[in-house]
């Protein structure tokens, strides 16, 4: 499930009508209120009659037109690695700033200055704005990082979906700030993935980079995402279905090998900030949804942030085991993305209080060094690349298109009366 190669093979299997490797008939039943439900293990597979052919597991995942899922894998959908996408080289990051500063007179090692103190001084200097503020906490106080490299190139093939409609409509494109767009993996036009454009030349954000492993905390049970489908008359083709996105208030269930388990029960978080529903449709086995603002939890270093996605939508297909895989995409407010992924300015403790400054500073500065960027460089690069939610007052976009590659396993999603342990984090 975690391996993308079998996943792609599985998708092909669906389209070809092959039975999945699991070959297990499973019926998932979605509960609205934890009420009694029906079939769990049908005695025999359900026959399929129309194209595309789905596995029995997919057929059986629906009960009364409803099904639940838990996200088991989530990562930024990023394009080709730096070798292909960054002809001008990689972002120099903190290390580049230090090297540049060290060449200046002020950056020279002072007489009798111990090496350790010298290195510390260099590090603090490049993280400090001219006005003395820490650049990770106050990135606007610094200018753009001259060593920052963006992904360039209209012809790069990048996973994702067309968010602004520019691929098919020039009128729609006028609603966003101008930006280059990528090609989809199958050559489709207009893929909006400006976050990849910003971080694609940064070492930590390569497709297998450390920064793209944030799901680790999801697998420890710190946060999770649930999805529901309702009103599905035919999982192959249905012009109108309801798609729900929820924060998971239960830890994800794993096997002894730490692989996510299918058919576990999870309760949705009851706080409306972490719940969203929208309309969707299934065409030839491909599920897409209308834009809706969603918000999930994220935990790093025991600090909590929200993972926001405005105008979010999905494009997914069913996997042979009755799950889903595809793209979750939308626009992340630049300020929110900066806090989430770079700056930790407003990260909270589990009690909902602002996390200790030392922890926030250490985390933001530490990961900048480890992942190969500078805080203020990331901030200004995102502002430069922002392509969504134009502020009428300034004419500048405030959010950045973000695409996630996700996989979901069939699950039972219930409306739990229990409140999430993270309820204390909610302030709004």
């Amino acid at each position: 499930m975690a391996d993308s190669k079998p996943a792609r093979a599985a998708v092909a299997a669906i389209k070809l009508g092959a039975v999945g490797a699991a070959g297990v008939a499973a019926a998932t039943i979605y509960l609205d209120n934890g009420s009694a439900i029906a079939r769990a293990e049908p005695a025999s597979p359900v026959a399929t009659q129309s194209s595309p052919t789905l596995t029995p597991a997919v057929e059986n995942v629906f009960r009364n037109g409803q099904a639940g899922f838990v996200v088991t894998d989530i990562a930024y959908a990023l394009g080709p690695d730096g070798k292909a996408a960054c002809p001008k080289g990689m972002t120099a990051g903190v290390r580049g700033l230090i090297e540049a500063y060290a060449k200046t007179p002020a950056g020279q090692r002072r007489e009798d200055e111990p090496q350790r103190n010298y290195e510390r001084r260099l590090g603090l200097t490049v993280h400090t704005a001219p006005d003395g503020q820490n650049l990770c906490m106050f990135p606007a106080a610094g200018g753009a990082d001259p060593g920052w490299r963006m992904v360039h190139g209209r012809n790069l093939k990048v996973e994702g979906i067309d968010l602004d409609g520019a691929g098919t409509s020039k009128k729609a494109a006028g609603a966003t700030c101008g930006h280059e767009e990528f090609q989809g993996l199958n050559g489709e036009r207009g893929v909006d993935n400006q976050f990849y454009r910003v971080v694609g030349c940064t070492t930590g954000f390569q497709p297998t980079g450390q920064a793209n492993g944030f799901q680790v905390e999801m697998h420890t049970g710190s946060w999770g995402i649930l999805m529901t489908l309702k009103g599905v008359d035919d999982p192959r083709n249905d012009p109108e279905v309801e798609v729900g996105f929820f924060a998971n208030s239960d830890p994800i269930q794993l096997s002894a090998a730490r692989a996510p388990l299918s058919h576990a029960t999870y309760a949705t978080e009851s706080n409306p900030r972490y719940r969203a529903t929208t309309r969707g449709r299934i065409v030839d086995g491909v599920l897409t949804s209308d834009p809706v603002d969603v918000r999930f939890h994220n935990v790093v270093n025991s600090m909590n942030d929200d993972r926001e996605l405005r105008s979010a939508r999905v494009r997914m297909t069913f996997t042979p085991d009755g799950g889903l895989e595809g793209i979750l995409a939308g626009y992340t407010p630049v300020e929110s993305m900066y806090d989430l992924q770079f700056g930790a300015r407003r990260s909270k403790t589990a009690k909902g209080e602002l996390a200790p400054e030392r922890l926030r500073l250490g985390t933001s500065m530490g990961r900048a060094g480890a992942l190969g960027y500078s805080c203020h460089g990331a901030y200004h690069a995102m502002l430069q690349a922002a392509d969504g939610h134009k502020d009428p007052a300034t004419g500048r976009c405030t959010s950045i298109s973000t695409q996630y590659r996700i996989r979901l396993a069939p699950a039972f999603v219930v409306e739990g009366a229990s409140q999430s342990a993270k309820s204390a984090l909610v302030t709004g």
């Binding site: 039975v19 070959g23 297990v24 008939a25 499973a26 019926a27 998932t28 039943i29 509960l31 934890g34 009694a36 439900i37 029906a38 079939r39 769990a40 293990e41 049908p42 005695a43 025999s44 597979p45 029995p56 239960d250 269930q253 096997s255 002894a256 090998a257 692989a259 388990l261 299918s262 058919h263 576990a264 029960t265 309760a267 039972f412 219930v414 739990g416 229990s418």
Partner: protein, 570 residues
């Protein structure tokens, strides 16, 4: 109402001979035979020998909880229980106590005694206060020893016993310098004593039958209490024992009905079925996590609990028909189990009652994950183990172990034989007539459960192939797990086996041939009570046979064959 005849001759027909007979085409005994009348009057029986029975782990823990408090720590480990002829309860009267076990009993005794006499809780447990901690208070020590000695030994202490433990208290105080330290060591001595660890039958002359003996009141109370509550006699039962009430039918009935009305009977039913269902096997159960990722440690623990909850709720709380355990759709589920059953479980931490869906292949405890996983291999199901367990657990039939030189390669090699099912592989394996005899007993039952994998999870196919789930029991053919459950429900050997096992568990020994009429009598009572287990327990507890003892050692050939070892895998 037709009456099921308890066919002892059938039950004696065990072992390889039975398998070979089957292989030769001889049908199993006429379990379905019925007779028109039920023997509702208890026959005379010679009784059994006086026995000493070691407390099981659950009895030890329950006893400590009842005598002191549920939160008193029992820190020692318990030796692996010996199972004999299908029951640990029977083996409690056999076997020796290892040095390890004695050591661990002492570990527990020390933890218990330290908690009881420690500064934090001594006011709760010590019934008196010494004049001074540094001075030995004989009266207080005597009161302490008498109070707990009576509860732990399940009878009043003889003066000599009492004085010995008081002397221990005094000696310990002198050496360790505190009155409560003295009490602590006196209590350790009592907890380490065989009089506590072993339930010893004591007999006295029977005034109603000169020249004969009977259990004394304390032994009767002990036998009754552990049978109906799986714990030590309570104060009321000890009072009845002291007054001689247990030797009268009215007095005994009063106590039996009192205990059966208490919630403790559920504990006893649970303990009996844990033993009968061989759930000690979970201690050794392992499943390959690669093959069965959903079979987690939590799921395994909950699987055991699920079946016991189902048994107790059906038999005790709902006063249900024992046979319906094989067909009921009602069950209990937890979140870890919901993954294996593919059922939603709204309750986040804990249990909720549920029903297997009407169109599910599951019904009855035979389709619980516990039974399916326990009698499977680590990486695959086993129709043979499942069939064998059903024969042995629910029909009291002994299926012998496979010969040492049998070749299992055909059966086990599922990986390299795509498209094969267990039925196909077993058919090839059974070309060997030595194997075929026993497999004809086991496989027709176990193959009907093949749509459940080795972890108890549902599967529609094996190796990509649809499975033939047909089976047969004693000439009755059926299809699939629900057919199997119904076949067991309808099989007269099933309640007869329960009667036999529960009686043997109650008396803690094998049964001699002359006692078979008692089983027939109890089976009649069970049937008259529409197979209600508490009513069967009442019939046993009120029967003369339950308490009957004879002075001379029993030289009658045992009617059941001891099983050398359980838990083999074939």
């Amino acid at each position: 109402m037709a009456f099921i005849k308890f066919n002892g001759a059938f039950l004696r027909r065990a072992g390889l001979g039975a398998c070979l007979a089957m292989a030769a085409g001889i049908g199993w005994a006429n379990q379905s035979e019925t007779t028109p009348s039920a023997p509702l009057a208890e026959p005379e029986t010679p009784g059994g020998p006086l026995v000493m029975r070691r407390l099981t782990e659950s009895q030890y823990r329950a006893t400590i909880a009842d005598v002191f408090a549920p939160d008193v720590p029992v820190t020692g480990r318990f030796e692996r229980a010996l199972r004999e002829d299908g029951l640990i309860a029977v083996a409690t009267s056999h076997g020796s106590m290892s040095a390890f076990s004695v050591e661990q009993y002492d570990v527990s005794a020390r933890s218990i005694a330290a908690a009881i006499t420690g500064e934090e809780r001594r006011a709760q447990f010590v019934p008196c206060q010494p004049e001074a901690e540094t001075k030995f208070d004989k009266a207080c020590a005597t009161k302490f020893v008498e109070q707990y000695g009576t509860r732990l030994f399940r009878r009043p202490l003889a003066a000599q016993e009492r004085d010995r433990f008081v002397a221990v208290a005094k000696a310990a105080q002198q050496k360790l310098g505190g009155f409560y330290k003295g009490l602590e060591y006196a209590l350790i001595g009592m907890l380490d004593s065989p009089q506590f660890l072993l339930r010893m039958d004591h007999a006295e002359p029977d005034p109603s039958r000169p020249g004969s003996i009977r259990l004394d009141g304390w032994s009767k109370a002990t036998r009754l209490s552990y049978f109906l509550t799986n714990s030590t006699p309570d104060a009321e039962l000890l009072r009845a024992a002291a007054s001689g009430e247990l030797h009268t039918h009215e007095g005994l009935s009063r106590q039996v009905d009192r205990l059966l009305a208490s919630p403790r009977v559920a504990v006893a039913v649970r303990a009996f079925f844990w033993d009968m269902l061989q759930f000690d096997g979970f201690n050794d159960l392992f499943k390959d996590p690669t093959i069965y990722p959903g079979y987690t440690v939590a799921a395994a623990a909950d699987a055991e609990e699920q079946t016991l909850r189902t048994v107790v709720s059906h038999l005790v709380r709902e006063d249900g028909d024992y046979r319906a355990l094989f067909t009921t759709k009602k069950t209990w589920v937890s979140r870890p189990l919901g993954i294996l059953y593919r059922m939603p479980v709204a309750t986040r931490n804990g249990w909720e009652q549920a029903e297997y869906p009407a169109d599910s292949a599951r019904s009855g405890i035979l389709t619980d994950v516990s039974m399916l996983a326990l009698h499977s291999h680590p990486g695959r199901s086993s129709p043979t183990l499942r069939g064998k367990s059903m024969r042995e657990i629910f029909l009291c039939q002994k299926v012998p172990d496979p010969p040492a030189n049998v070749n299992f390669s055909i059966v086990q090699d599922a990986v390299n034989r795509p498209g094969s099912t267990a039925r196909m592989r077993l058919a090839e394996h059974n070309d060997n007539p030595v194997c075929a005899g026993c497999h004809k007993l086991t496989d027709p039952l176990g193959l009907t459960l093949e749509n459940f994998d080795g972890s108890g999870g549902f599967r529609a196919k094996e190796n990509g192939v649809s499975m033939d789930l047909s089976g047969a029991l004693d000439g009755k053919e059926f299809e699939g797990p629900q057919g199997l459950g119904q076949a067991l429900h309808d099989n007269p050997g099933v309640p007869a086996c329960l009667v036999e096992k529960m009686y043997r568990s109650a008396v803690g020994r094998e049964i001699a041939s002359p006692e078979e009429p008692v089983l027939e009598y109890l089976l009649g009572r069970f049937q008259s009570a529409r197979f209600r287990v508490p009513q069967l327990m009442r019939a046993i507890a009120l029967s003369n046979s339950f308490y009957a003892v004879k002075e001379q050692p029993d030289t009658t050939p045992q009617r059941t064959v001891a099983v050398a070892k359980e838990g083999e895998r074939s």
